[in-house]
C-alpha cells in the first residue's frame, strides 16, 4: 500500500524532528476555571449524617473488598470504637452536592521532559507521597489490580537534575470486567491534582466531614452514566476521586477508607 510506504518512510525522518515534536506536555486542569456549568443552587438538600462505618483496614483485613459488618448509614449516631480488632469507625457528615454537569477543564500546559521522568513502583510512590495512595476499600465488583494503560497506572514523577520535583500527578484506575464501573484516583503532593471544584464554585458547594477532614462530594450524570466525585487533602496529599456507575455507599466507603490510614 502506498500510504503505508509513506508512513514507514516518515518513521525514518531526522531524529531532531522527532524529539522536537515529542509529547512533552500533558493535559492538566487550571485551579480556577469557568463557572458556566454552575447550578444556581448547587447544593442539594440531601444532607445525611453518616455516623458509624466499619471500614476494613488493608493491612489487617484479608479481603479488601469486604465491607465491615456495620456499614449502614445511621444518621445522628455517635462515633464509637468497634470491638472487632480488624475494623475502625470513622465519623462522617456527608453532603452530596448535585451538579448538572461536571465542570469542563480549563486546560493548562506543563512542560514535561522525558529526561526528567523517574518511573516508580506503587511502593516507591507511596514512599514518595508519605502514605498509601490506594484505597483500603473498593467496591466488590471492581478488580483489585490497577488498570495500566497510557493514562493510568504508569507511575512516576518528573524531577530536575537539581532535585526539584516539578510534576507528580499520578492516576490510578480500578474497573470491573466489562469496564462499565470504575474508580479513578488522581493524586499529587501538597495540592489537589487536577480539579479544585470547591474553589471553582466559590462557596456554593457544601463540604462534608470525615473524621475531622474536609471532603467535597458531588454527583452528576452524563452520557456515560452515573458519577460521584470527591476531592480532599489528607496528610498533605491531594486527591480527586471519581466513582463511575457504582453505588453512593460504595463511593463514600472508598473515599472514607483513606482516612483510616
Amino acid at each position: 500500500m502506498k500510504s503505508e510506504k509513506l508512513l514507514y518512510a516518515i518513521g525514518m525522518i531526522e531524529e531532531s524532528m522527532i524529539e522536537e515534536a515529542a509529547p512533552k506536555t500533558i493535559r492538566t486542569a487550571k485551579k480556577h476555571g469557568l463557572l458556566k456549568y454552575l447550578m444556581p443552587a448547587a447544593t442539594c438538600a440531601a444532607i445525611a449524617l453518616f455516623a458509624i462505618f466499619v471500614l476494613p483496614q488493608i493491612s489487617k483485613t484479608p479481603n479488601n473488598n469486604t465491607p465491615g459488618r456495620n456499614n449502614s448509614v445511621i444518621p445522628g449516631q455517635q462515633t464509637d470504637k468497634n470491638n472487632e480488632t480488624n475494623s475502625v469507625y470513622v465519623k462522617m457528615n456527608i453532603v452530596m452536592n448535585e451538579l448538572e454537569k461536571f465542570p469542563s477543564k480549563a486546560e493548562g500546559d506543563i512542560g514535561l521532559f522525558w529526561d526528567d521522568y523517574i518511573s516508580m513502583t506503587i511502593d516507591e510512590l507511596n514512599e514518595y507521597y508519605g502514605m498509601d495512595i490506594c484505597p483500603s476499600y473498593l467496591p466488590g465488583t471492581l478488580k483489585k489490580e490497577m488498570v495500566v494503560d497510557v493514562t493510568y497506572g504508569n507511575l512516576g514523577i518528573f524531577k530536575r537534575d537539581n532535585g526539584t520535583v516539578y510534576y507528580d500527578n499520578n492516576e490510578l484506575k480500578y474497573e470491573n470486567a466489562d469496564k462499565a464501573q470504575s474508580v479513578i484516583i488522581s493524586v499529587a503532593k501538597g495540592h489537589l491534582p487536577k480539579y479544585d471544584v470547591m474553589g471553582l464554585y466559590k462557596g456554593d458547594l457544601k463540604a462534608s466531614d470525615i473524621d475531622g477532614n474536609t471532603v467535597l462530594f458531588t454527583h452528576y450524570n452524563d452520557e456515560n452514566g452515573d458519577h460521584y466525585y470527591a476531592e480532599f487533602l489528607y496528610n498533605n496529599v491531594g486527591f480527586n476521586l471519581w466513582g463511575n456507575n457504582i453505588s453512593k455507599d460504595d463511593f463514600i466507603k472508598t473515599v472514607a477508607s483513606y482516612f483510616g490510614k
Binding site: S3, L7, A9, G11, M17, E19, E20, W114, D115, V150
Partner: protein, 186 residues
C-alpha cells in the same frame, strides 16, 4: 541516569541497561505503541520487544538520541503488529485514519508506478519538513510520526481541532506538490 550512561550499560552488556531504559522510556514507548494499536497487552509487548531490539542493536550502534532511537523501534514494531491486526480485521486507533489521510500525498494520476529508493523518499520528506514553519512541522510529526489524535494535538498546542485538521490538510497537499516537483511518484 542520563542517556549516554544507559547506552554505556548496553555496551558493557549489563542487564541493568534494560531496567534503566524501561524506567526512563517505558511511558514514552508505550505512548507511541498505544496510539498505533489501542491495545494495552500488545502495546506492552511491543515496548518489551523494543528493549530486546535495542539490546541487539547496541553495540554496534551508539545512538545520539536514545529516545528517538527507541521510539523508532517501537513505532516500527507496532506498525508491523498493526498489519497483523489489519489482516485479522481488528485494527483500532489512529493508524487507519492516518493511512487514509496520507493518501492525499500520493499522486493518483500516474499509471506507471515509479519505484523509488526508500532513502530518497526519506531525504525528500526531511527536506520538506525542515522547510516548514516550526509549528506546522511539529503538528505534522505529532500526527504522522506519533499518530497522536488531532484532538490531543489541538489541546497541547492550544489550537482548535479544526485548525489542526486544516493545517494538516494544507501540509499534506504541499507534501504532494513537493513530491511531484522532485519527480517522486509513490
Amino acid at each position: 541516569m542520563n542517556d549516554s550512561e544507559i547506552v554505556e550499560l548496553y555496551w558493557e552488556r549489563s542487564e541493568n541497561a534494560i531496567a534503566e531504559t524501561s524506567k526512563k522510556y517505558s511511558r514514552y514507548c508505550y505512548y507511541i505503541s498505544y496510539n498505533i494499536l489501542h491495545n494495552n497487552e500488545d502495546a506492552n509487548e511491543c515496548v518489551n520487544d523494543t528493549y530486546l531490539r535495542a539490546w541487539n542493536a547496541i553495540p554496534p550502534r551508539r545512538p545520539d538520541c536514545l529516545s528517538s532511537f527507541l521510539g523508532k523501534i517501537t513505532r516500527n514494531l507496532s506498525l508491523d503488529r498493526y498489519k497483523q491486526y489489519a489482516a485479522e480485521k481488528r485494527g483500532l486507533g489512529q493508524t487507519e485514519l492516518v493511512l487514509s489521510e496520507l493518501e492525499d500525498c500520493i499522486s493518483g494520476t500516474s499509471d506507471i508506478e515509479q519505484r523509488i529508493d526508500e532513502m530518497v523518499l526519506v531525504e525528500n520528506i526531511n527536506k520538506f519538513l525542515v522547510a516548514l514553519p516550526k509549528i506546522n512541522r511539529i503538528v505534522f510529526v505529532r500526527r504522522y510520526w506519533y499518530l497522536s489524535t488531532t484532538k490531543e494535538i489541538a489541546e497541547q498546542y492550544k489550537m482548535s481541532e479544526s485548525k489542526v485538521k486544516s493545517m494538516l490538510f494544507r501540509t499534506r497537499n504541499e507534501l504532494k506538490k513537493h513530491f511531484e516537483k522532485g519527480g517522486i511518484i509513490l
